[in-house]
Each structure stands twice: as structure tokens, then as C-alpha cells.
């Protein structure tokens, strides 16, 4: 068991190193940050001096190892665009992204499971069919389009909800939250729906198909033969057995929600890490790009590692192979 976990951790570390290397190899193609930093009146000497100061004149493997060396000590450098410590900026931006991701995830899970169960039980009903066909929109429309459509409808036409920003936030010792003010809550509605819609339809469709599968099983028939009420059969017996694959998917999708918040944050001017990353790409802000990419890959690798280890606990065959 221990060897299994150690091997998995080793593999995860390797994946992280490779992600970083690929990222640094690509930064060269994003452009030259120096022009953005100095403005049009700079002299060529200024350019050379700054390139040397930032280490941009060195080949990318050298830059990468310097980054690793500093990152191991918890130092992610200074943002070229904002002139502040990257770790400080990320910490400042993280609450916005995590709060949005959490609300979207809750929205996707609750509504996804509820609608999934409903469409499975009433699978020939008119409403169930209507939900199923409209859910295709959620799967097929790109996020930015959904966001803009929602803004058009609820902000421009109906004037109900704000089109951008986080509203008023309350600072709780370094953690800013929009959950405690009316305008903060209103601001969360449209971005959460935009971000969570895809995951919601995914969960809904998964719950539905799993549930239909389970409802065909023999033990459900026996339960019916025993005269149990529909309610007990559906929610105690069927739903419980449906949840195993659903929980796995939810776990993996959580990472995706945080990572894909980039687009939603750009559309709604949500001051989170995704918007920071987009700004960083346009400005060629290498320290911010590097730190963000590493953070996201640490998160994905971490979740996968956790899922792997959990599987090993659940599935005895993996444990035996590990020994």
C-alpha cells in the first residue's frame, strides 16, 4: 500500500515538473514583456538593462530552473504588470475564484442530482423530455456565449442583476467575501450559472442514465414485489447506488470548475485568478503565468492523487497488487 502511494506521489511530482518545463518553453512564443513594461520612449539601453535584470536574456531551461529554485522556497517572483509579489496577488485573488467555484459547484450538484432523478423517474413525461432537450444547450453552447446571453437578458433588458464585478465585499481577515452583502449575492448569480451550467447538465445526464440502469436491476424489482413505496425505492435504494460514479465525476469536475473559471471571469469582470491569468497573457507577465499554471496543475495532480489513493482503499485488487 505504501509503495503504491509513494509511487503515485513520485509520478505526480514528475508530471508537475514536466508541466512547468512545457510552460516555460512556450512563454517565449507569447512575446516580449519588456516592450509593455517600458513604454514607447525607452532607449535600447533600457531594454537591454531590463532584460538582464529579469533574466530574460538567458535560455529557457535556465529561467525554468531559477523559477523552480525560487518556487521551492515559496517565492514566485514579482508581477511584471502590477509590480507586486505574485504570491500576494494570488492570495488576494483566490477568494473570488474559490467562492465563485463553490457556489457554482453547489448549484451544479444540487440541481443536477434533482433534475437527474426527476428525468429518470418520469422518463416519458413531457417536462422530463423538455428538460432533457434543453440540457443539450448547456452542453453545446460555449461558456462565453451563455454569459453574454445572460447579461443581455438579466442586466440589459430586465435590469435585475449586475453585469460585472463582485459587488460589495466584506473583508474577513484577508478573505474577502461577497456572500454577506445583498449586492455581493446578486453579483454571484449570473457568473455561477454560467460557470456551473455545463457541470450541472453533465451531472444531470449522468444521474439519469445511472438511475435508469439501477432501476432495471433485480433488487429493485424485488423491492417493488415486497410492496415498498416508490419513495423508499427511488431515494433509499436506487439513488444510493447511483451515487458512486457520480461522486467520482463531481470530484474531478471540481478542479475543472476552478480552472475553467478563466472564461467566466473574463466575461463578468470577476476579480479572480482566471482574470488575472488572462491579463498576464496579454501583458506577457511571465511570473504570474508560471505561478498560476503551477497552481492549477498542483490542484489537478492533487485531486487525481487523492482519487487514486481512495480507489486503492475502496478496491481491494489494487491493494493486493500494491503489496
Amino acid at each position: 500500500m505504501l509503495t503504491f502511494i509513494l509511487r503515485r506521489i513520485g509520478q505526480s511530482a514528475l508530471v508537475l515538473l514536466i508541466v512547468g518545463l512545457v510552460a516555460f518553453a512556450m512563454f517565449r512564443f507569447v512575446g516580449d514583456p519588456v516592450d509593455n513594461m517600458l513604454g514607447q520612449e525607452r532607449t535600447l539601453e533600457d531594454v537591454e538593462r531590463l532584460k538582464e535584470q529579469l533574466g530574460l536574456d538567458r535560455p529557457f531551461p535556465v529561467q525554468y530552473f531559477k523559477f523552480l529554485e525560487e518556487a521551492v522556497q515559496g517565492n514566485f517572483g514579482v508581477s511584471y504588470r502590477q509590480g507586486r509579489e505574485v504570491s500576494e496577488i494570488l492570495l488576494e485573488r483566490a477568494p473570488a475564484t474559490l467562492e465563485l467555484a463553490a457556489v457554482s459547484a453547489i448549484f451544479a450538484i444540487l440541481l443536477g442530482i434533482a433534475l437527474g432523478v426527476y428525468t429518470a423517474i418520469r422518463r416519458d413525461g413531457f417536462i422530463a423530455n423538455f428538460i432533457m432537450s434543453t440540457s443539450l444547450i448547456g452542453v453545446s453552447l460555449p461558456t462565453f456565449l451563455i454569459g453574454i446571453l445572460l447579461i443581455y437578458l438579466f442586466s440589459v433588458e430586465l435590469n435585475w442583476l449586475p453585469s460585472f464585478g463582485r459587488g460589495d465585499v466584506v473583508d474577513l481577515g484577508g478573505w474577502t467575501t461577497g456572500l454577506l452583502t445583498a449586492s455581493g449575492l446578486k453579483s454571484l448569480v449570473l457568473p455561477s450559472i454560467t460557470l456551473g451550467l455545463y457541470q450541472m447538465t453533465l451531472i444531470m445526464r449522468l444521474v439519469r442514465s445511472e438511475m435508469l440502469e439501477v432501476l432495471r436491476q433485480d433488487y429493485i424489482r424485488f423491492a417493488r414485489a415486497r410492496g415498498l413505496s416508490d419513495r423508499v425505492i427511488h431515494f433509499r435504494h436506487a439513488l444510493k447506488n447511483t451515487m458512486v460514479p457520480v461522486v467520482t465525476i463531481i470530484g474531478l469536475q471540481l478542479g475543472a470548475i476552478i480552472a475553467f473559471a478563466i472564461i467566466t471571469e473574463t466575461v463578468f469582470q470577476w476579480p479572480g485568478m482566471g482574470l488575472l491569468f488572462i491579463n498576464a497573457i496579454q501583458f506577457v507577465d511571465i511570473p504570474v503565468m508560471a505561478a498560476y499554471l503551477m497552481l492549477i496543475s498542483v490542484m489537478f495532480v492533487g485531486i487525481n492523487l487523492l482519487v487514486d489513493i481512495l480507489y486503492a482503499f475502496i478496491d481491494p485488487r489494487l491493494r493486493v497488487a500494491g503489496k
Binding site: 507569447v30 517600458l38 440589459v156 469582470q269 501583458f283
Partner: protein
């Protein structure tokens, strides 16, 4: 009928709420200020935010003319052409209550000359700034500098005592990630006082009720809420929904939409930016062409033919939807040295162009790569696409390479392009600025944006002499002569002057500033 009444009622409601909240300027544009430190970054949006709180000695009004700010009079010293004398405004107080005196001006200029300052290039001719008395300052330059005031319109004045008390005597080391008190706080003499600021999210300012110009300017806005909104569609939606009432960086494609919405309007003015193509005439052979051992662009007839093939009116009507002014010289209209005649030298003549190509020995044409940014100027890539078709008419096969600005501009400064698009604004409103960067042969500190390879020693000497020529008539004659060479050599192919669009709620009296630099103290309510 019923619907119409509801609409009317809604419109009435909207306009009444607009009146109630109208003293707050809810202002959005695509980017935020990078820092509040007055001298740390020389960048448009950063200056714009600072201009509300800090003031230079002189500013420019919306016509481009000088307007007295902290200085009331300025002139070269009668007996010494190397010295400018500035009379300062009396009775001005900083937001913190400190008195504004000559000592603050001396301190601010010295601060702006520090190595970390981004403003130091603009004032590198200044050798000394001395206070004669409390309200007179003499600025000494290394030689006569007739256009010194032009370089001072973004040079903000800080309070010496405040800077010393808060440990911000030195300019923030931006690249080193230094945060100082001045990065996040502001203590200027300006019409608005900083209330709160979250970088990239929101900056709030309120009116300075003790402002020296309280009776002189409208000062109709009592509070400014500045929010950067990056996405074009979201920014326009925020205006349409009434969440913001003043918008910079208005997307061209939405102008009709905004004008068609009740209570909103778009105002325009010629912007301080001209768009043009540069051609590398200096190289012996070009990288991206199909002619070996020769450079077709070295022949002035080829350059003329290319300029004649561009149909500027078609670009204006089709690509820009009317949002541009065709240009014949690479200078914005209000710059000293611009003339209507030269700006009109840009006719389209395909037959004449073909004849010139044949005369130069390129009757069968050639192929070349055009480098173009795709995220810098209004419709930059579509303009290049249009040019590809137009140059195709005279046999030049153009391969377009449109890439983000962060990759495009290094190509020009590193000399890795033969044919490229560039846009230029002139903050000093004088042709010397254009010549220094775009016409003078490339050296380490001059001609840095001249990617044409053009290098004419006589002309370079003439350009350098402009800096210290105090005889303004002779200087203007020199400027005209240099422009004549630039035009005759067809150093660049001018395309058009950009038009600037600001969107706003009706009722706000705002005149568009060609520098894209609104000064809220000038805003009124109709």
C-alpha cells in the same frame, strides 16, 4: 398602445434615476492604472487616473492647447535661453492640508529624475531645478530647449513633507516588486481625493471641496467610481444597463447600438494616433520576399507605387465604418508641423502605381511578408487584410502575419521585419518627437522605432538641431523641410488618423480629449 405607455413610463423612470445619481461618475474602461506612484510608470491609463488626483505644472485642454495648472505663467528667461521660469499658483493646498510651494516642485522634478523613474527620459535635458522664491521656479536645461513645457504635461507634483513622512522619497522600484506608501495612496493638489482603491477592481475618488479651481471649472461630478472592465461586450452591456455612465475604449461595432439606445450617446474626436506601414529600405536583401540579392523596397518608385495602391477611402468606409480620417502624413492633425496639404498627399492611382513598378523593374511584382498586430489598434488586422488585396492589384503578393502586440513590436525594434504596421501618438504635440523616434537613423537612444533602415546623416543633424533651436520660425522651417524629405522619400505609407469614441449617458457634458485622457474637473452636467 399599452406597451408604448409602459416603455414611456420606464424611460421616464430611468431618466429620473439618472438625474438623482448623476453626480457620481461611474466610469469604465478596459484597463486599470498600474500604480499610483506619480513617477513610476509612463503609461496612458495610469496617467489618466492620476490626473484626477495629482496635477502637473501645465496640462492640456481638449483642444490640445496648454492650460495653467500649478503654474500660472511660464517663459524662457530673458537673458539666458537655457533657463525656463515658472510662476507658481499661490494659495494651493495638497489634499492633506500641506501648502504647495516651490520646494515641492524642486522635490518632484528631482524625484522624477531618479533611476527608477519612468519619466526620466522626458526630462533628460533638465540639469537643475531651483526655487527662486516660494512661488518661482527656474528650470535649467543642458542647452536651449524651446519645447520644454510640452514634456511636462504628465509630470505630477507631490508634497515634499508628505513624501518624507511616509518614506516615499524614492520612486517605487516597479520591476523589483516594491510597494511604497505612494503606490497605494495619493496626496496631490488635484480636484479629486482618493477614497479607496482595489487594483484591477475599483477606485473611488470624491470631489476636493477646497480645490483652487472650484469656481473656475464646472466640477459637476462629486464622486468618481472607476472600474476596469476588460471584455468589450460586458463593458457595453454595463453602459446599456445603466451600471456605468461613462465609457472609454468604446468598441467600434457597438456605436450604432449605443446611439440607438435611449439616454445614451457616443461622442467622437480625432485621436492623437496615426496608423501607417513601414518599409525596410535599408537592408541589402529582404528576408520575407522572393527577390534574391536585391531589395525592391530600396527603390523609392516601389515605395511610391505601394502608397498609391492603398485605397484609404475604402478602408475608412468598409473596414473602419467611417471611424477614421484618411492620412497623407504620419502626424496627427494638431501637431506642430502638420499641414493640410501634406496630409492630403495620398491619392489612389492603380495605373500610375503599375507604371512606377514597371519603371523600377518590378512589372511582374514580387512577394513580401506584412507583419501586423492583432490586438493593438482599432481593426488593425482587418486593415492589413484590406491592404493585402489592394497591393495584389499592382502585382505584389503579400503574406500577412497578424500576431499579438507583445510579439509584433519586438520585431520592429529588433529589425526583424521588412514591412510592418505601426501606430504613433505624439504626447509633446511637436514634430520633433516623431522625427526622433521614426525618422532619425537608429541608434541606442534615438530612432529606436525607426524600422525602415533609413539613415541620412544630414537629416539626422537637422533633427538633432531642433532640440536647441530657440528661433521658433527657423525651427518651424526646418521641421517643414524634414517633412518634405519624409514625404518625398515615402519613408512610410500613411493610412489614417484614428477616431476616438467615448460613450456616455445623456446629460453628461463631456468633450472628447484627443489624448484619451479625460480630466473629470472639466465635466459638466447639461
Amino acid at each position: 398602445m399599452k406597451k408604448a405607455t409602459t416603455l414611456l413610463a420606464a424611460a421616464a423612470l430611468l431618466s429620473s434615476t439618472a438625474l438623482v445619481h448623476a453626480e457620481t461618475l461611474r466610469w469604465a474602461r478596459s484597463g486599470d492604472a498600474l500604480t499610483l506612484d506619480p513617477h513610476a510608470q509612463n503609461e496612458g491609463p495610469t496617467h489618466t487616473v492620476r490626473h484626477q488626483m495629482y496635477e502637473p505644472l501645465i496640462i492640456r485642454d481638449v483642444t490640445g492647447a496648454f492650460e495653467a495648472a500649478l503654474a500660472t505663467e511660464w517663459a524662457p528667461k530673458a537673458d539666458d535661453p537655457n533657463v525656463w521660469v515658472f510662476k507658481l499658483r499661490e494659495g494651493v493646498k495638497f489634499h492633506g492640508g500641506e501648502d504647495f510651494t516651490a520646494e515641492d516642485v524642486v522635490f518632484s522634478f528631482e524625484r522624477a529624475k531618479q533611476p527608477n523613474s519612468d519619466m526620466k527620459e522626458l526630462i533628460n535635458s533638465i540639469t537643475e531645478v531651483r526655487a527662486v522664491d516660494d512661488f518661482t521656479v527656474e528650470i535649467v536645461t543642458d542647452g536651449p530647449n524651446p519645447i520644454l513645457p510640452n514634456n511636462l504635461t504628465n509630470l505630477f507634483i507631490m508634497d515634499k513633507g508628505w513624501s518624507e513622512a511616509n518614506n516615499t522619497v524614492n520612486v517605487q522600484d516597479f520591476e523589483g516588486g516594491e510597494i511604497t506608501y505612494a503606490t497605494t495612496n495619493a496626496n496631490g493638489t488635484g480636484a479629486y481625493v482618493l477614497q479607496s482603491r482595489e487594483p484591477d477592481v475599483k477606485t473611488v475618488m470624491t470631489r476636493n471641496e477646497d480645490y483652487w479651481g472650484r469656481d473656475q471649472f464646472p466640477l459637476a461630478i462629486s464622486e468618481i467610481v472607476y472600474t476596469p472592465i476588460q471584455n468589450n461586450a460586458t463593458r457595453v452591456a454595463a453602459l446599456l444597463s445603466g451600471e456605468v455612465n461613462f465609457l472609454q475604449d468604446m468598441p467600434v461595432q457597438d456605436i450604432t447600438r449605443v446611439n440607438g439606445t435611449g439616454g445614451k450617446m457616443v461622442k467622437q474626436a480625432a485621436q492623437n494616433r496615426v496608423i501607417f506601414f513601414g518599409m525596410n529600405q535599408g537592408a541589402a536583401d529582404l528576408e520575407g520576399d522572393n527577390i534574391d540579392g536585391a531589395n525592391p523596397l530600396a527603390d523609392v518608385r516601389v515605395r511610391k507605387a505601394m502608397a498609391m495602391a492603398i485605397n484609404r477611402d475604402a478602408i475608412q468606409q468598409v473596414v473602419m465604418r467611417g471611424q477614421s480620417q484618411p492620412a497623407g502624413m504620419i502626424s496627427p492633425p494638431f501637431v506642430n508641423g502638420w499641414t493640410a496639404e501634406m496630409d492630403g498627399e495620398s491619392g489612389t492611382d492603380i495605373d500610375g502605381a503599375k507604371a512606377l513598378m514597371a519603371e523600377a523593374g518590378y512589372g511582374d511584382g514580387f512577394s513580401i511578408r506584412l507583419d501586423c498586430p492583432n490586438d493593438r489598434y482599432i481593426n488593425d488586422e482587418p486593415i492589413c487584410q484590406a491592404a493585402v488585396g489592394m497591393l495584389g492589384q499592382i502585382g505584389i503578393t503579400v503574406n500577412l502575419e497578424a500576431i499579438p502586440k507583445a510579439q509584433h513590436f519586438p520585431k520592429i525594434t529588433d529589425g526583424k521585419t521588412d514591412f510592418y504596421m505601426l501606430g504613433w501618438g505624439v504626447p509633446t504635440y511637436d514634430s520633433e518627437y516623431i522625427f526622433n523616434f521614426l525618422v532619425h537613423g537608429r541608434e541606442s537612444d534615438i530612432g529606436t522605432w525607426n524600422g525602415t533602415g533609413f539613415d541620412n546623416d544630414d537629416l539626422d543633424a537637422k533633427i538633432k538641431s531642433l532640440a536647441s533651436n530657440t528661433d521658433l520660425d527657423a525651427r518651424n522651417a526646418d521641421i517643414a523641410a524634414i517633412w518634405r524629405v519624409v514625404q518625398d522619400e515615402q519613408l512610410y505609407i500613411p493610412i489614417h488618423h484614428q477616431v476616438l469614441n467615448w460613450a456616455m449617458e445623456e446629460g453628461l457634458g463631456i468633450d472628447v480629449d484627443p489624448n484619451d485622457q479625460p480630466k473629470v474637473k472639466h465635466f459638466s452636467m447639461n
